[in-house]
């Protein structure tokens, strides 16, 4: 009886899972594998082989990877500095880094659009200095910049968390046994933060791979990511079947990339993201 009561407690979550996870995925799968008439087809999955789609998914992978690498290179030393702070306002400094996350991200990207525009503040400065207006917007590099700006906190936080979990006496023990700073970084700090790095990579790479708003606003329609293609199929082309088919393919890419990361994640720190 008690057992049954306890199981009933899971009820609301089952409803949630069924209604908001299983059902939508089912609907997408249905659209992906049917034609407009409802007949079964592989055509929409196979549509990924279309040169336009190949090009955009390759670009998505390239930009997503670049964004992840840049985030990692910026976040790791930053997390290290943050976690080595030994003053009372440590949590406040961390809070400053997370604060932008709480602002609407469309707003943040839009403001970059204004800053980087030909008539924007940076170009105004460059013209003053005699470098003439430089085309800053609508390039792949700008899109990566926007992604890094948006997703950096998601890389910092898990790495910072895993670093603060390393106790001081572990570092002192390593030093005591003769390790210099580089050895401590390579043999102690890095191995103990691998799980944080993996969480960070997944949390940055997945949204970067599927993003379409950033490329829309900072790429000005010139940078066509797979996310943009899917969006267009739904919003403009109204070919829901093709859009669903490409979504399914993108999902397979995401799952594959997470499976690859999982190989490196020995102690399951990234499991929280799954």
């Amino acid at each position: 009886m008690r057992r049954l009561m306890r199981q009933l407690l899971a009820g609301p979550y089952l409803v949630w899972i069924a209604g908001f996870i299983i059902l939508p995925v089912g609907v997408i799968l249905y659209y992906a594998f049917t034609t407009a008439d409802g007949a079964f087809t592989f055509a929409h999955i196979a549509a990924i082989a279309d040169p336009v789609h190949v090009k955009s998914i390759l670009l998505s992978l390239k930009l997503g990877l670049s964004c992840t690498v840049v985030c990692l290179l910026l976040a790791y030393p930053l997390a290290m500095i943050l976690s080595s702070f030994r003053f009372r306002h440590q949590s406040f400094v961390v809070f400053l880094f997370i604060l932008p996350m709480w602002m609407n991200f469309m707003l943040r990207i839009l403001s970059w659009r204004l800053i980087l525009a030909n008539s924007g503040i940076i170009n105004a400065l460059l013209v003053r200095l005699g470098f003439g207006p430089v085309k800053l917007l609508n390039t792949p590099a700008t899109v990566v910049f926007g992604m890094v700006y948006d997703f950096l906190p998601f890389m910092i936080l898990p790495i910072y968390n895993s670093m603060t979990r390393i106790k001081d006496d572990i570092i002192e023990a390593a030093r005591d046994l003769g390790a210099g700073n580089l050895t401590i970084l390579a043999k102690i700090i890095f191995p103990l933060t691998v799980s944080g790095i993996i969480s960070g990579i997944i949390m940055v790479f997945v949204p970067a791979l599927t993003s379409f708003v950033i490329s829309d606003l900072l790429g000005g329609g010139k940078v066509l990511l797979i996310g943009n293609v899917i969006e267009q199929e739904f919003m403009q082309g109204t070919n829901w079947n093709l859009g669903s088919g490409l979504s399914v393919v993108l999902m397979i890419f995401v799952i594959a990339s997470m499976a690859v990361m999982n190989i490196f994640d020995k102690d399951g720190g990234g499991a929280a993201v799954w």
């Binding site: 106790k167 006496d169 002192e172 023990a173 390593a174 030093r175 005591d176 046994l177 003769g178 102690d267």
Partner: protein, 357 residues
């Protein structure tokens, strides 16, 4: 006596306004088991961390084997530390933990293998090399921490309350282990603890510290039998500490009664602290004692009974193996040799006394 290996010279260390060590002078002899003993906040751990290289003193120098190492980082000192919470590397196996220091010194693989086997045997954990840190109990982790330190063949092993987190039985076993290890390795041990029993059991020399000052340095017997002041007497074991007046050489007045003692040179009619260990108080018939009083409580402690005897408003703590009843009227005696006389400290902070051990 063997030569001085480590000297602390005028070491001062403060954190903000809090002076942790004030002009500390101390030396450690080669192959000595020296224990820094004191309550928390007395500066014993700071002293150890200065020796380990984890803290830099504000003033003063640390001389190790004839060289000034005050500013040398920990990784360049020929000594190793066993940390209170073991501080084993969680991502490495037991063998990798032990090999860590040797790999940094670029020793050959065969040498490292040999050393791991030797160290595991020394701490009675043979065959544990492939286990993970998590799979070991607290006591086993502590042994591995010791093994990891000693494979580097340090001249000095620093131990920071290494038994603090273990339960009583294990702690007692580990005390004998540590004595055995020290004898087998023939190196110097600098040990920090707040546990007087640990200090008395293992040490060649005990340094009693309080409030950043050294109170007394001596062998366990000296510290226990001849504490130099009331703090040491109170900290090492149970004591009766009474206000007394040194009437003249060999006569002290306590609770209005003149007692014969063996101390001289305090002058006449000087206020002093009188320390009498509870096991040194004899219970006799009321008419045979120096003073008489009533037993107010009796507690069974295993080896002995612990009695409180109220005499002239002072409650004596007495250990005896005989059973008495609460309310019984008895007399007490102390032989002159067991009465310790000490100067009263001039102020609370200045309980420091220079003693040459």
């Amino acid at each position: 006596m063997s030569k001085k290996l480590i000297s602390f010279i005028d070491i001062t260390k403060s954190y903000g306004d809090n002076i942790v060590l004030d002009e500390l002078n101390l030396y450690v002899r080669e192959n000595e088991f020296i224990t820094l003993l004191g309550p928390s906040g007395c500066g014993k751990t700071t002293t150890l961390r200065i020796l380990g290289g984890f803290e830099t003193p504000d003033h003063g120098r640390v001389i190790f084997d004839g060289k000034d190492i005050t500013c040398l980082p920990p990784n360049e000192r020929n000594l190793n530390t066993v940390f209170q919470k073991y501080a084993l590397f969680p991502h490495m196996s037991i063998a990798e933990n032990i090999a860590f220091g040797l790999k940094i010194k670029k020793k050959s693989r065969d040498y490292i293998e040999d050393k791991i086997r030797y160290a595991l045997k020394l701490v009675n954990l043979e065959g544990f090399g492939d286990r993970s840190v998590d799979s070991l109990s607290g006591g086993q982790q502590q042994r591995i921490a010791i093994a990891r330190a000693i494979v580097n063949e340090p001249k000095v092993l620093l131990l920071d309350e290494p038994l603090g987190a273990l339960d009583l039985k294990l702690r007692q076993d580990m005390q004998y282990e540590l004595i055995r290890l020290k004898n087998e390795l023939g190196i110097t041990f600098v040990y920090v603890t707040h546990d007087q029993e640990e200090a008395l059991t293992m040490s060649d020399t005990i340094v009693v510290m309080n409030q950043g000052y050294i109170q007394q340095i001596g062998t366990p017997e000296m510290i226990y039998n001849e504490p130099v002041n009331a703090f040491v007497a109170d900290f090492i074991g149970d004591s009766n500490i009474l206000d007394g007046i040194m009437v003249q050489d060999r006569v002290v007045s306590v609770l209005g009664v003149k007692l014969p003692c063996v101390d001289e040179g305090f002058g006449s009619n000087r206020p002093v602290d009188v320390v009498i260990r509870p096991e040194d108080v004899e219970i006799v018939a009321p008419e045979d004692g120096f003073m008489e009083g009533d037993i107010t409580s009796v507690i069974f402690k295993g080896v002995h009974y612990e009695l409180d005897i109220l005499v002239n408003g002072y409650e004596w703590l007495v250990h005896t193996t005989q059973l008495y009843a609460v309310g019984q009227h008895v007399g007490i005696r102390v032989i002159p040799f067991n009465i310790q006389i000490m100067n009263k400290p001039e102020s609370e902070d200045e309980e420091a006394v220079e003693i040459d051990a």
